[in-house]
Assembly symmetry: C2
Homo-oligomer: 423 residues x 2
């Protein structure tokens, strides 16, 4: 396709989405839940079609030499399609945020002011390989009354088309407004640029993928972008920590699932407990073959078997069985390290000193701050949100686990009986 | 200054602001209020200095041929400086949003999750002529715990410097962290570009000024921007309206203060009441010499003395004694017109039909929707917010009147006693 054709087509989809958003905004929760149920049913009914489309993506991926890990992330089988459908049904059970009255008061002149949750409007989702995002993102947006324009990666284009077609067909049988969920059916890079520029149609863009993708969207976008950057999560072991607890929490945070953004990456240890704590910690980490990268003091205590950490290590999200370790002279130094090198995601203090804990929690500029528990709890499901669209490392609109509520805006509704400003 | 020097200097201010933000975030309400009181006192003490600086701006403005209206907006006298100081004192009386617990619940494993309001961090304010914005914006940001970088227009640079110096000097005597309020002391255009690019330091930019300024910031900014665009406000007079009330509300909305964004710009009238209503309305508007610009049906009823409205009129914010008038065949047509031509600011229905009113309120995609009262109430002070930084026409983070609460983010604080994900 020429760049002009891409632009024309994406703009057309934007215009359609904006119309669909007005229709979506006034659907009742019951209508939306019926639509979600129909979508799940249709996706199950088309399971073999979806798997067939996925096989085309897999074949193309093998040809292009994708790694086994990439191919596995891309692969759909019956169990996975079923899991996607079950995810849709789960979203139907969640509380609809739209219509919730956030506050309500009376003006001295006697009229009512009500602040009510409403959908955002049209949300663009730009994502990379995993085809399940097509469904996960679209249904969260739908439940919160938003129209979506989905732009998936080229690796999963056949799968994405099959899934989107199933959602649309199932939804329309149950009253889904036309164009409420649209997938850009081609993967020209130009389409990202057009989406990022069309702030007359898109109220928000959410990029889901690596740093490169987010950076591209941020530099082009005219509308708000909610970013889900890295999680460079820290634990600070205070001088008054329960050292056994500090070992268990660090071990859980690092090893329970190292590939995710809420896993521990850097451990900071107060110098007064370092000699006691570090050997206990290192011994626990050996159980999972965690590679330690330590500062000079850490290596003095644990020996030269521990690799030396470079400056770069403090800024690295390993997503692997690797842990950076640093001895600090004070809690203030730990806090400064976290505020400088962290990614404002999730950071934890281990201490029995309540006052120190409160100073830490208030002074750390991160979405989630923890006292005496695993950073792995930084998660929409653990928070009870049911399903999340990601963990925002932004501070505006949505911060931390981002779910249905964060996919809404609000509107003020004023009801009077003739009140005038002049009298 | 060379572009390089500007960049270096603005980046340095950004770095300093980020440090200041961490110090500001942990100040108590009492500390912040003491700082505000000291700022107001110092501004009053320096009143003649500020007025002298302002005289330099006025002289330069006259030389550059600024209009009388522009010069008046720029002018400071003792009463105006006193009003700015009183504004600071008023902000001190407002409730501090920081620290408010938004929600609080227990995880099944027994730890507490708390969602608490925290400052956003560093806010950039880019504004045009009025020097009072220097103080108004800085103190609202300060009360909500944010550091500010102010970039005012060249017309008011001497006044802005004098006001900012007074705030800094007064504040620092009472414990204002260094660099909490910084004014860019020069007005090179390059500085806007540098600010818009430094998302490592600025969490938010708020442009306050005309469309051109906002557009420049939006196209350059890498961080969130909250926009305060036009108010193209509508009133729809329904077939079941109380026509007397509909005249009074339209008159108040149009004429009580036509120069502001919540003033009425377009009046839509149901065809079944147009013949009765339009002459009453036109007669009321004559009292203030309001120029009507009507559709063909309006002119059939009111006569050719009424100017013909062009397509452009439906998209115009007059901010003047001019009103566009259109007869519509149905409420649906009125709603479609508003959602297409409005600016998502404030729109009103006049009707005795409660059901129609609710359909209208829910179906209009605007920050504020009204039933039977003047659009002039779309205002932070009328809402009881005390002081506002503007009326956001955005849907993310802040919508409608934007005050202290909207200058905050939130943080999740989790307090446990050793909880692990794995067990």
């Amino acid at each position: 396709m020429t760049a002009e054709d891409v632009e024309k087509e994406v703009l057309r989809m934007g215009r359609q989405a904006k119309e669909a958003a007005l229709a979506l905004a006034v659907l009742s929760s019951e209508q939306k839940n019926r639509i979600l149920a129909a979508m799940a049913a249709e996706l199950r009914a088309r399971s073999s079609e979806v798997i067939k489309a996925n096989a085309q993506d897999l074949a193309a991926g093998e040809e292009r030499g994708l790694s086994m890990a990439m191919l596995d992330r891309l692969r759909l089988d019956e169990a996975r399609v079923d899991a996607i459908a079950a995810g849709i049904e789960q979203v139907a059970t969640l509380k609809d945020p739209v219509g919730e009255v956030l506050s309500d008061w009376q003006h001295p002149k006697g009229f009512q002011i009500e602040q009510v949750r409403v959908p955002i409007g049209v949300i663009g989702i730009i994502y990379e390989s995993r085809p399940n995002v097509t469904s996960d993102a679209a249904v969260l947006c739908l439940k919160s009354g938003n129209a979506t324009i989905l732009r998936g990666g080229s690796e999963a284009i056949f799968s994405n088309r099959a899934i989107a077609a199933a959602l649309q067909a199932g939804g329309e049988q149950a009253g889904l407004p036309a164009n409420a969920i649209q997938l850009i059916p081609f993967t020209d890079r130009e389409s990202v640029k057009v989406m990022a520029g069309m702030d007359q149609y898109l109220d928000l863009i959410i990029p889901r993928g690596g740093k490169g993708l987010i950076e591209t969207v941020v530099s082009l976008a005219r509308m708000p972008v909610i970013k889900h950057y890295d999680g460079i999560c820290h634990i600070y072991v205070d001088e008054q920590a329960d050292l056994g607890q500090a070992v268990d929490i660090a071990f859980d945070s690092k090893t329970q699932k190292p590939s995710v953004c809420n896993a521990l990456e850097t451990l900071l240890v107060h110098e007064s407990v370092a000699a006691d704590y570090l050997p206990l910690m290192a011994s626990a980490m050996r159980e999972k073959d965690v590679e330690l990268r330590g500062c000079a003091r850490t290596r003095e205590i644990l020996g030269d078997g521990v690799k030396a950490a470079s400056e770069e290590d403090w800024d690295t999200e390993y997503l692997d069985y690797i842990l950076a370790v640093k001895v600090v002279a004070s809690m203030a130094e730990a806090m400064e390290h976290i505020n400088r090198h962290g990614s404002r995601h999730s950071d934890c203090i281990i201490t029995k000193n309540e006052e120190a804990a409160e100073t830490f929690l208030r002074g750390i500029d991160s979405a989630c701050v923890f006292h005496n528990l695993s950073t792995r709890f930084s998660d929409g499901e653990e928070f009870g949100f049911g399903a999340e669209i990601g963990i925002s490392t932004d501070k505006l609109h949505a911060r931390g686990p981002m779910a249905l509520r964060e996919l809404t805006s609000y509107q003020y509704r004023l009801r009077g009986d003739g009140q005038l400003k002049a009298s």
